[in-house]
């Protein structure tokens, strides 16, 4: 069985804590994975200005999963991720984090439980890799205590885990796309949360770096984090996900394992693409092969 939290394990199945930070009252059981979902959205109505993208949506992210949200362009998958990561406030409904409504938790408190890497974060001019990764520690700092030894340790460990230690003193603007994405992931990793949301982390990367970033994600998942990612590439999604959520027109049309979601009928329903599903000879996950239509 997959241990939900191998790090703090038997003592405290709740979110890992660097030091004595306040924790919401999630149930403390011993050993067993708790039933409460890391994130759950209920009756979500999501909109930009006047345009409603998602309405009346319920969604739950299983604890310890590597959940990938897929769907055609404009189906609301990034919108949903933003709502789960509280960067978009729902017009109706609510998001619960470990069973607590987001609205009842403080800004920094949430940031110590949930990290989100947006689609297009902006690297400040002239910032070094080390400083950018350090910015992931904001939620652990106060005005008078803007750095602590645990911040330094977390930043070093995050750079180590993402293979960016050698880049520490380089300017982020000088890095290649693949390196830069690793640095951003290091920043959210430094946030030291159990829950990691990634909005299209592989966009603009070539195939090598897409696999590289997803391998890194898989590694973070193996270390015990719950991951939620929005991905464009259905085949890569099926390869890495333990749980998939397929969306179309603002609604969830299928959830389950890659084998359950990525079927010929499913793909046609979701994307309107006629295809054959074969088994990926490398990973034994479903592989989408579009039919020849000419």
């Amino acid at each position: 069985m997959e241990t939900w939290n191998p790090v703090t394990g038997t003592e405290n199945p709740g979110p890992r804590r660097a030091e004595g930070t306040t924790s919401p009252s999630e149930p403390v059981t011993s050993g067993e994975a708790p039933a409460v979902a890391p994130v759950r959205g209920t009756g979500l109505r999501l909109a930009y200005d006047q345009r409603v993208v998602v309405d009346g949506l319920d969604v739950e992210i299983p604890a310890g999963s590597f959940t990938v949200i897929v769907g055609p362009n404009g189906c609301g998958k990034s919108t949903l991720l933003r709502a789960l990561g509280r960067t978009l406030t729902p017009r109706a409904g609510h998001v619960d984090l470990y069973g607590e409504p987001l609205a009842s938790l403080g800004n920094k408190q949430i940031a110590r439980m949930l990290a989100l890497l947006p689609q297009t974060p902006v690297a400040p001019e002239a910032i070094t890799v080390r400083d950018l990764v350090g910015r992931g520690r904001y939620a652990y700092q106060t005005l008078l205590r803007q750095w602590s030894a645990s911040d330094g340790v977390a930043v070093r460990a995050a750079m180590e885990a993402t293979g960016t230690t050698d880049l520490a003193d380089r300017k982020v603007s000088e890095l290649s796309g693949g390196q830069r994405q690793r640095v951003w992931i290091a920043m959210v990793l430094a946030q030291d949360t159990d829950l990691l949301l990634l909005d299209e982390p592989t966009t603009f990367l070539d195939i090598t770096h897409q696999v590289d970033v997803l391998d890194l994600c898989a590694q973070m998942h193996r270390e015990g984090r719950t991951l939620v990612a929005v991905l464009h590439d259905l085949n890569l999604a099926a390869r890495y996900a333990t749980h998939m959520i397929a969306m179309r027109d603002g609604e969830v049309v299928a959830t389950g394992t890659p084998h359950e979601v990525v079927t010929a009928e499913g793909v046609e329903e979701i994307f309107g693409l006629r295809c054959r599903i074969i088994t990926d000879p490398e990973s034994e996950t479903p592989l989408v092969v579009p039919l020849v239509t000419r």
Partner: protein
């Protein structure tokens, strides 16, 4: 114990060993780019500290020069005595009534403009962002023109300036909407409001008698002429209060530079931080306009210079303030004591320097292909 493999394990192990060591040190320590003194830990950048120290020394030098230069200047050797209240009546007058208030207003207003510019450049994520761009100065000029030329005497000029600036900024903020999420919209609307304000000023000037119009034109350039201790008090209080607020906000502001989503996810209430920061920036710039008129370009140039010289990321409030103070008081020193044109309003000089700097900046961006 094995080498920690995850962030959390590493942090937990560190916390444990720190607990064993018994943490808090009393002597100042610089470690990992941070200075810690009695439990307070702030970022520490050696280059920035050196630059700011150098700038402050130069500001102090400019202050002394402003008291000693020129025909009426007090000799350097006599200065300490005069400052202690000794010395002749003339010397006393020159220092305390004439020159010291002027220089102090210059230092404080320059610092206020520098910090204000740093805030606006951070919020608009644009090196050209400044209170000038969003129409604050033009609005202030229109307000001053309204109360001195169109309806003379209904309010003192500085109050008119404050109201005019407030109206202009309010229009811009309302027009931009969406919690100031779209900095470019703010700039575009600011240009429009600024143009309308300047049209009003031109209208007012063409309608009035020549002497009054000339007086107005001098104020419009921005000038430190005939500043009193009252002005010093206004700008010093604004600088201390709003400057402290700017410092407190700068940590959140630098996170917001990464985009609202990233900032919110990191635990920063992006909209609130930005709204507060813009209010503080407007307040600082407005206080400066009230005491010395719409001095051009200090707010634009100072934070840029500060960022480049310190080579640091983030708004850098202290460095921007120091650069602004040095720029304004230095420019005033040159404007008053240059031998060619008699005494000039300082704004003429800062506009000249600023224009030149802007041209260089734009050319460089253009060459790099980022414009």
């Amino acid at each position: 114990m094995n080498r920690p493999t995850t962030v959390a394990e590493a942090v937990a192990e560190q916390a444990e060993s720190a607990g064993r060591r018994g943490a808090r040190r009393l002597l100042p320590v610089v470690d990992e780019g941070h200075l810690s003194v009695v439990g307070v830990v702030v970022p520490w950048n050696r280059r920035a500290t050196l630059v700011v120290t150098a700038a402050l020394v130069l500001v102090l030098t400019a202050l002394v020069l402003s008291l000693t230069l020129g025909r009426l200047g007090v000799a350097l050797a006599d200065l300490p005595a005069v400052l202690r209240g000794e010395g002749s009546k003339t010397e006393h007058f020159v220092v305390f009534t004439n020159r010291l208030p002027r220089a102090l207003v210059g230092v404080c207003a320059g610092a206020a403009l520098g910090i204000s510019g740093a805030i606006f450049q951070s919020v608009t994520r644009n090196p050209l962002g400044s209170p000038d761009i969003i129409g604050l100065n033009a609005g202030a000029a229109a307000g001053a023109a309204a109360v001195t030329l169109v309806w003379p005497g209904i309010l003192p000029a500085p109050v008119g300036a404050l109201l005019g600036g407030a109206v202009a900024v309010t229009l811009v903020l309302l027009g931009a909407g969406r919690g100031l999420q779209a900095p470019l919209r703010m700039v575009v609307i600011g240009i429009g409001v600024g143009a309308m304000s300047l049209a009003f000023v031109q209208f007012a000037i063409t309608r009035t008698r020549r002497e009054q119009a000339q007086e107005m034109a001098a104020w419009l350039n921005g000038s430190l002429n005939a500043r009193s201790w009252e002005h010093v008090t206004i700008i010093a209080v604004a600088l201390v209060v709003l400057g402290a607020a700017a410092l407190a906000l700068s940590r959140g502001l630098q996170q917001v530079e990464m985009g609202d989503d990233a900032a919110v996810a990191l635990g920063v209430p992006a909209r609130r931080v930005r709204l507060l920061a813009v209010s503080v920036g407007v307040g600082l710039a407005a206080a400066a306009v009230v005491v010395c008129g719409p001095v051009a370009f200090v707010a634009l140039v100072a934070p840029q210079v500060a960022r480049r010289v310190t080579g640091s990321a983030g708004p850098g409030m202290v460095a921007a303030g120091a650069a602004g103070a040095l720029l304004l008081v230095g420019a005033d020193l040159v404007a008053v004591h240059q031998p060619w044109f008699g005494s000039l309003p300082v704004g003429v000089l800062t506009a000249g320097i600023g224009g030149l700097y802007l041209a260089v900046l734009l050319t460089r961006e253009w060459r790099r292909g980022t414009l």
